[in-house]
C-alpha cells in the first residue's frame, strides 16, 4: 500500500491551500496555553513585539525550507542522503526523527499534566496515554491525508477558542501595556528564543511537502498559515497582558486557562472545562502531525513496514509518557526540546540551505 519513496501517489497528495491549515495546526498546540509566561520573563509587557518578530523570522525560514525542498526535489531524507552521503545523511535523519518523536512525547505528557491539574487529578497516566496512543494509531495508519484532515478540523476549533480571548479585551486594563517599548531591543530579542517553542511546526514541511500537489504554489499558503498563527499569538499575548499584570503572570502556569475561568455563558459556568477539552483536539492534531513525521522518517530509512514502525513509535510514546512523572521535569524537558527545535529551525535549516547551495554549485 505505502511505498518507500519520497514521491507519494497522487491519491495521497493534497491541494496546496491545505498547507495553511497544516502550518497553523502544527504551530498552535500546547504552547499557546503558557507561552506568555516565558516571554514575559524576558521582555515584560513589551514582549508582544517578539511575537511579531518571531512570526517574521518564521516566514523567512518557510521560504528557505521551500527552496531546500524544491531544489532537492524530495523530502529531508533524500536531501540528507544527497548532501552528506548515505551513512551520515541517515544519521542526521535519525536525529531529526528522534526530535520529532521526543517532541510529541513531551507535548503529550504535558497535556496529560494539564488535564490532570484542571480536570482529573486522579487520571491514570498509563491508561490514558495508552488510549490516546491508540487514537494516534488510527489517525497515523491512515496516512498523511487523514492526519491532515484532523489538522484541518482542529484549526476550526483553535480559531474558535482563540476568539474566546475576547473577555480580556472587555475586562482587561489597557494601562498594563504602557509605557510601551520600556525594554531594550536586546531583551526583546531574548524573548524570541522562548517564543520559538510555540512557533515550532514549520520544520515538518521538510517531511510533508512532497505530499502537496502544487508545491511552488503552496508557498504563499504556507506564509499565510504562519501569518495566521502570528495573528492568533498576537491576539493571545495582548489579551493575557491586558488581563494579568506582569508579577501575577509569573505565578500563573497556564494563563489562558485562568483567563477562560472568567468567561460566563448562560449555559456554561466554568468554561475552562470545555476549553481544556476542545483544546485537546488542537494538541492531538499537532502531536499526530509530529508522530506521523517521525513514523514517515523512520519508515523511509528502514526496510520495515509502516505499520510496525508506527506501533513501535506509539509504544515508545506510552513508555515515554509514563517515565516522566513530575511537573518540574516536564517543564524542564519542554524547555530543552524547545531549544533543540529552536536551533534546528534557526541554525540547521539556514545551514542546510547554504550547504545545499554550495553543493549544487560544486555539482555544476
Amino acid at each position: 500500500m505505502r511505498t518507500n519513496t519520497y514521491k507519494p501517489d497522487i491519491t495521497e497528495q493534497l491541494s496546496p491551500f491545505l498547507v495553511v491549515f497544516l502550518i497553523h495546526a502544527s504551530q498552535i498546540g500546547e504552547g499557546i496555553l503558557s507561552f506568555e509566561r516565558f516571554i514575559a520573563e524576558k521582555a515584560g509587557h513589551d514582549s508582544w513585539v517578539s511575537v511579531l518578530l518571531t512570526g517574521g523570522i518564521l516566514c523567512l525560514i518557510i521560504y528557505l525550507i521551500y527552496k531546500i525542498v524544491l531544489r532537492g526535489d524530495g523530502d529531508l531524507i533524500k536531501i540528507h542522503q544527497d548532501l552528506f552521503g548515505k551513512w551520515i545523511g541517515n544519521v542526521m535523519t535519525i536525529l531529526v526523527g528522534c526530535y520529532f518523536l521526543i517532541l510529541s512525547i513531551i507535548v503529550t505528557r504535558s497535556y496529560i499534566e494539564v488535564i490532570q491539574v484542571w480536570m482529573f487529578p486522579e487520571l491514570s497516566t498509563f491508561w490514558f496515554s495508552a488510549v490516546i496512543a491508540f487514537l494516534f494509531y488510527t489517525f497515523i495508519i491512515g496516512g498523511f491525508r487523514i492526519v491532515a484532515g484532523l489538522a484541518f478540523f482542529s484549526v476550526i476549533l483553535s480559531t474558535l477558542l482563540a476568539s474566546f480571548k475576547y473577555v480580556a479585551y472587555t475586562e482587561g486594563y489597557w494601562t498594563n501595556l504602557f509605557p510601551m517599548f520600556d525594554h531594550s531591543p536586546i531583551e526583546i530579542m531574548q524573548a524570541i528564543k522562548p517564543m520559538f517553542y510555540s512557533y515550532l511546526g514549520v520544520e515538518l514541511l521538510l517531511i510533508y511537502l512532497p505530499f502537496i500537489k502544487n508545491k511552488k504554489q503552496s508557498l504563499k499558503w504556507a506564509i499565510l498559515g504562519n501569518l495566521w498563527s502570528t495573528l492568533v499569538y498576537f491576539v493571545s499575548v495582548i489579551a493575557i497582558f491586558l488581563y494579568f499584570n506582569q508579577d501575577q503572570l509569573q505565578h500563573i502556569v497556564w494563563p489562558t486557562l485562568n483567563l477562560w475561568k472568567v468567561i460566563n455563558l448562560p449555559f456554561v459556568e466554568r468554561f475552562e472545562y470545555i476549553g481544556v477539552t476542545l483544546h485537546f483536539t488542537v494538541v492531538i492534531a499537532t502531536i499526530c502531525l509530529y508522530l506521523w513525521a517521525a513514523a514517515q522518517t523512520f519508515f523511509r530509512i528502514s526496510n520495515r513496514g509502516y505499520k510496525v514502525i508506527t506501533i513501535i513509535i506509539l509504544v515508545m510514546t506510552v513508555v515515554g509518557c509514563n517515565t516522566v512523572d513530575n511537573f518540574v521535569l516536564i517543564e524542564q524537558y519542554t524547555t530543552q526540546i524547545s531549544y533543540v527545535g529552536y536551533y534546528l529551525v534557526i541554525i540547521y535549516i539556514p545551514f542546510l540551505y547554504i550547504y545545499q547551495s554550495i553543493w549544487l554549485g560544486v555539482k555544476k
Partner: protein, 496 residues
C-alpha cells in the same frame, strides 16, 4: 488438500450438476408437479405452469398450432408473431430460458429445440414512497420488478445516453442486477469499480439490494452506510445526472446510488422542492438534530458524573432536584433509558402497524411517566433521551438513523470513563474512521474534508439552482457543466 476436497464438494453440489442432454433435463424437470409436458402432433411442448402466462400460451400460441400445421421448427419461428424466439441445442441456454418462463418446443425430426417466451410478470402497483415520503413533489416509488423500476427512471431521463448494464449474481437466486449511468457524464472509473465489485460477488443468494450494498461497500465493517439506498425514482434520476452510478436489483424496491458522502444522508429529497433558504434551514436543523442525538446523553453522563461545576447555578438546582431520589449513577440511568427506547423502537418495528402504535403509546407515556414517578430515572434525562431518539428519526435515509443510534453507546461509555475528554476521544475516533472511509473510492467526508467550496453548495446548505452551475467535484464527471452559466446570468438581468 483440504481445499481441494472442499472444491470437489462444491463442484458436485446437486444444483451445479448439468444435464448432458435436453431430454435428460426434461426428465429432471418433470419431477416437479407444476411442470406441464405433453405431445402434440409430432411436437413436444413443455413448460412450467407457474412461470408462464397461461392465457397467452393458450390463446396466442396453442391456437396457432391448431390452425396451422408445421413440419419444421424454423417455420414456426417465422410464423409466430412473437420476438425473441430462439432456436438452440445448448442445454444450458434451455435450462436458463425455461426458468425465466419460456416454452420448450421439441420436434421429433429435429436436433434443435425452440424456446418461445411467455413470461408471466406480476408486479405490485406503483405506490407512494413510505420511507422517504415527501409532502410536495412526485409520489411514486420503486417496486420489486426491475423492468418497471428502470422504466420509471427512463421516463425521467429520456436519453439514449442513459445506459443499463445487466449482470446476474447469486448462484441460487440468479438475481438480475442493473448498473445504470449516463454515458458522457459519469466517470468511467466509477462504473468500472461498481461493475467489477458486483461481478466479484460470490454468494448463493442475493435477495435484496441491501445484500449488494453490504458486499460492494468499500469498508464492509463500518457502521456507516457507504451507498445511499432510495425508493424514489426522482432521486435516482437526479443523482444520475450528477454523474453518479445507480444499481437496481431485481426483486428489491430500493436502488443503490454512489459515490456518496456523509452529508448526502442528511439531505431529504424534499429539500429540492422547497425554496433554497427554507431547505437550507431544514438541513441545518437536521444536522444539529444528529449532533444532539449523538452527544446529549454522553454529555449528560460526563457532566453529571465529573463536571457538575459547568452547569450554571440556576440550572443545577433543577437537575439536582430531579435527581435527588434516583438510586443509580448517571451512567446506569442513561443506559437503562437508552436501552428502553431502543426496545420500544424495535418492538414497534417488528409489530403490525396498528399494534405498533399502541406499543408506542404504552411505552412512551406509561413507562416513561411511571419510571420517573417510581424514582428510577430523572425527568431531565427522560426528556433528553426522548428528544435524542426523536432527533435520530429526522434522518431522511433510514439506514443512517440506525448508525446514529448505535454509535451513541461507545460515546456514553467513554463519557463515563473520562468525562468530557472521553466524549472528545469518542468523537475523534469517529472522525478518524470517517476520514478514512470512502464510497466507491471517493472521500466520504467531502465537501468538508477535502474542502471543496463548490460541493458545499449542496451539502448542509442548499444553494439556489441558479448558482449550482457545475456538477459535484466528488464524482469527477466527464462533463462538469450543468448548464450554460452565462445564459443564466443574462436571464436574471432581464427579470429586473
Amino acid at each position: 488438500m483440504f481445499r481441494r476436497s472442499r472444491d470437489k464438494l462444491l463442484n458436485q453440489s446437486a444444483v451445479d450438476a448439468g444435464s448432458s442432454s435436453i431430454d435428460e433435463l426434461v426428465v429432471v424437470m418433470k419431477q416437479s408437479d407444476d411442470f406441464s409436458h405433453f405431445e402434440f402432433h409430432q411436437m413436444t411442448i413443455s413448460f412450467y405452469k407457474t412461470l408462464v402466462d397461461q392465457t397467452e400460451v393458450h390463446q396466442g400460441i396453442f391456437s396457432y398450432f391448431q390452425n396451422n400445421r408445421f413440419d419444421r421448427l424454423e417455420e414456426i419461428k417465422q410464423a409466430l408473431p412473437i420476438d425473441d424466439i430462439t432456436l438452440t441445442s445448448d442445454v444450458d441456454t434451455v435450462k436458463e430460458k425455461m426458468m425465466q418462463g419460456y416454452l420448450l418446443l421439441q420436434h421429433a425430426t429435429n436436433q434443435q429445440v425452440l424456446l418461445i417466451p411467455a413470461k408471466l410478470s406480476k408486479a405490485r402497483d406503483i405506490a407512494p414512497p413510505e420511507i422517504e415520503y415527501s409532502v410536495i413533489g412526485p409520489k411514486e416509488a420503486f417496486v420489486e420488478d426491475m423492468d418497471i423500476n428502470i422504466n420509471l427512471i427512463r421516463k425521467r431521463l429520456p436519453l439514449p445516453q442513459l445506459q443499463v448494464k445487466e449482470l446476474t449474481v447469486g448462484k441460487l437466486t440468479k438475481t438480475k442486477v442493473a448498473i445504470i449511468y449516463i454515458d458522457g457524464i459519469v466517470n468511467p472509473d466509477n462504473v468500472e469499480t461498481v461493475t467489477q465489485r458486483i461481478s466479484d460477488i460470490e454468494f448463493d443468494q442475493i435477495i435484496d439490494s441491501s445484500f449488494i450494498a453490504q458486499m460492494i461497500s468499500d469498508n464492509s465493517n463500518s457502521p456507516f452506510p457507504q451507498l445511499i439506498d432510495t425508493e424514489r425514482p426522482d432521486r435516482v434520476a437526479s443523482v444520475l445526472s450528477e454523474g453518479k452510478v445507480a444499481v437496481i436489483c431485481d426483486g428489491s424496491p430500493h436502488a443503490l446510488t454512489g459515490p456518496t458522502t456523509l452529508v448526502e444522508f442528511f439531505s431529504a429529497y424534499e429539500d429540492y422542492f422547497l425554496p433554497w433558504h427554507i431547505a437550507t434551514i431544514f438541513r441545518i436543523i437536521r444536522l444539529f438534530a444528529i449532533l444532539f442525538s449523538v452527544l446529549i446523553t454522553p454529555l449528560y453522563v460526563a457532566v453529571l458524573t465529573y463536571h457538575y461545576q459547568i452547569i450554571p447555578m440556576d440550572l443545577l438546582g433543577t437537575i439536582i432536584s430531579s435527581r435527588r431520589d434516583i438510586p443509580f449513577p448517571p451512567i446506569l440511568e442513561a443506559l437503562i433509558l437508552e436501552l428502553t427506547i431502543e426496545l420500544l423502537r424495535e418492538a414497534g418495528a417488528r409489530l403490525p402497524m396498528k399494534i405498533g402504535q399502541t406499543i408506542g403509546i404504552v411505552g412512551g407515556i406509561v413507562i416513561g411517566t411511571a419510571a420517573v414517578e417510581a424514582g428510577l430515572t430523572s425527568n431531565v434525562l427522560l426528556i433528553l433521551v426522548a428528544l435524542s431518539a426523536l432527533a435520530s428519526f429526522t434522518t431522511p435515509i433510514y439506514r443512517i438513523g440506525n448508525t446514529i443510534r448505535l454509535i451513541r453507546f461507545p460515546f456514553i461509555i467513554l463519557a463515563q470513563l473520562w468525562g468530557l475528554i472521553g466524549v472528545l476521544l469518542a468523537f475523534l475516533f469517529c472522525l478518524s474512521h470517517l476520514l478514512k472511509l470512502t464510497s466507491i473510492g471517493r472521500p466520504y467526508t467531502e465537501p468538508f474534508y477535502p474542502p471543496r467550496l463548490q460541493d458545499l453548495k449542496d451539502s448542509f446548505i442548499r444553494a439556489p439552482f441558479s448558482s449550482q452551475t457545475k456538477r459535484p467535484i466528488l464524482t469527477r464527471t466527464s462533463d462538469t457543466n450543468r448548464m450554460n452559466a452565462s445564459r443564466v446570468k443574462a436571464k436574471q438581468g432581464k427579470r429586473k
